[in-house]
């Protein structure tokens, strides 16, 4: 989990780092020139998989020097904290003073000490953010976290959203825009980047900003940051909508098939991906005798029935089936 997050961080990080990375990646065998190098199972050697040459011996093992067999042991033996995260304004490297008024042995402390700890705690809270900029960042990141929780998207998306927001902040793109707006569009962009798109309607339901503003801010930051976002594939919506409608696998794969064949014929051009997916699901549910009404599908996909009817007509015509 943390590993994949870090990999993603790397992708979005500065170019310089990317180059460093690729230098590491393109190592090839000095004997046969193949780049098919593998770490042997005991992790002490780097071996060419083609000619068998040992490229490196006695590699340093970056893993922990202790062994643990269950979660509790791991917790006890590990001497490090949680990995750093972009979703906190201080990357999670902070000092928190426990709220329990107890000393290291678990005894409760004297009232004098207790009020001292109270003061310390208060000041620690206050100096955690050193200026307004950091306070704003803290607010934005907590907004991202709140919306991501409400949408139920995984941690990795929050991490990516936070990185996008930080980049926007660094490039001074937030000036003149609302913090909430930029935070929301960073989350929208992150969802798409991670291949689990949420439509603007869904996003605006959990955001304090309206749909139009989110769209506008999103277009601006994706242009300025060069996010190179691919158009959303309607197929990405199919599993989620289908499970919300309690439709079977059969309907899902039929809907995917409809989308694939009709998109190839260029029917998708300029059409909203949610509406397109909704129509395909509706058509598939009819074909598989698990009929859902247009109303039901429309509600789940947050499009109108008219959109579904129109897309549905175009799709079945292109598929050559008569509904």
């Amino acid at each position: 989990m943390t590993r994949s997050t870090r990999q993603r961080e790397r992708e979005t990080a500065a170019k310089q780092e990317e180059e460093e990375d690729s230098e590491e990646g393109v190592r090839e065998c000095p004997e046969c020139g193949s780049d098919n190098l593998v770490k042997s199972s005991d992790r002490a050697e780097l071996v060419c998989n083609d000619c068998g040459l040992v490229v490196e011996e006695e590699q340093i093992d970056p893993g922990p020097e202790w062994r643990a067999f269950n979660h509790q042991e791991r917790q006890e033996k590990s001497r490090v904290g949680a990995p750093t995260t972009q979703t906190m304004h201080d990357k999670g490297l902070t000092t928190t003073i426990d709220w329990k008024d107890k000393d290291a042995y678990g005894r409760s402390i004297s009232s004098k000490k207790r009020s001292q700890m109270h003061r310390l705690r208060k000041w620690q809270e206050r100096i955690r953010t050193k200026d307004a900029g950091e306070r704003n960042l803290q607010f934005a990141l907590s907004e991202i976290d709140r919306m991501a929780s409400a949408l139920g998207v995984p941690r990795s998306v929050r991490e990516v959203a936070s990185v996008i927001y930080r980049r926007a902040l660094k490039e001074d793109l937030i000036r003149g825009r609302s913090i909430e707006g930029v935070a929301t569009s960073a989350l929208y962009a992150a969802c798409r980047k991670e291949g689990i798109p949420r439509s603007l309607e869904e996003i605006s339901e959990v955001s304090r900003v309206e749909r139009k503003e989110i769209g506008r801010t999103y277009r601006y930051i994706s242009q300025e940051l060069g996010l190179e976002m691919k158009p959303v594939d309607p197929k990405k919506y199919v599993p989620r909508f289908c499970s919300e409608l309690e439709l079977t696998e059969e309907v899902q794969s039929k809907a995917n098939e409809i989308i694939e064949t009709t998109a190839e014929e260029g029917l998708l051009s300029g059409k909203s991906p949610t509406g397109y997916a909704a129509a395909a699901i509706y058509a598939a549910s009819l074909l598989c005798n698990e009929k859902k009404t247009q109303r039901e599908v429309a509600d789940v996909a947050q499009v109108t029935e008219v959109t579904i009817r129109n897309r549905y007509q175009e799709q079945i015509e292109a598929m050559g089936i008569h509904g």
Binding site: L200, G226, E228, K230, P231, V232, L268, S269, P273
Partner: protein, 186 residues
Amino acid sequence: MTDPKETINIENVVASTGIGQELDLQSVAMDLEGADYDPEQFPGLVYRTQDPKSAALIFRSGKIVCTGAKSTDDVHESLRIVFDKLRELSIKVEDDPEIVVQNIVTSADLGRQLNLNAIAIGLGLENIEYEPEQFPGLVYRLDDPEVVALLFGSGKLVITGGKEPKDAEHAVDKITSRLEELGLLD
């Protein structure tokens, strides 16, 4: 195959000019027949000419914007009418105030359906903007000529931001050759 350039049609020309002196729009609105002036709605006075059809926006500063004309000649013609009207109200207007064309909007038709998804990836995602969730057209910003083209799935396109009618022709040429290179025009 017909040349897409032949389908180019100018839809709108916007030009600006000025008469070099401040105006009291309230009294101009009173004297000028057919003028709309509602400062709460819009700070300028709107005067519509019928032939050629266009609307001139006259501002307090004496600057005038003419929009809605279908060609550069029409812009000059309708602004000439506006100047004459102002002269009739004994407002001094130079003989030939400089008229600058600010924007020309043209439409054209490539004559075949476009697969915008493929075009978006073909033209390079950094050069284009395609958000079907928000707008059905694909926005393609060209550097030379400096215009913005909107491509639609039907094969029709709108070119805006040009200062000369030629800009649109160049843009259409460029777009068709780029799309042909990518093999997306068949």
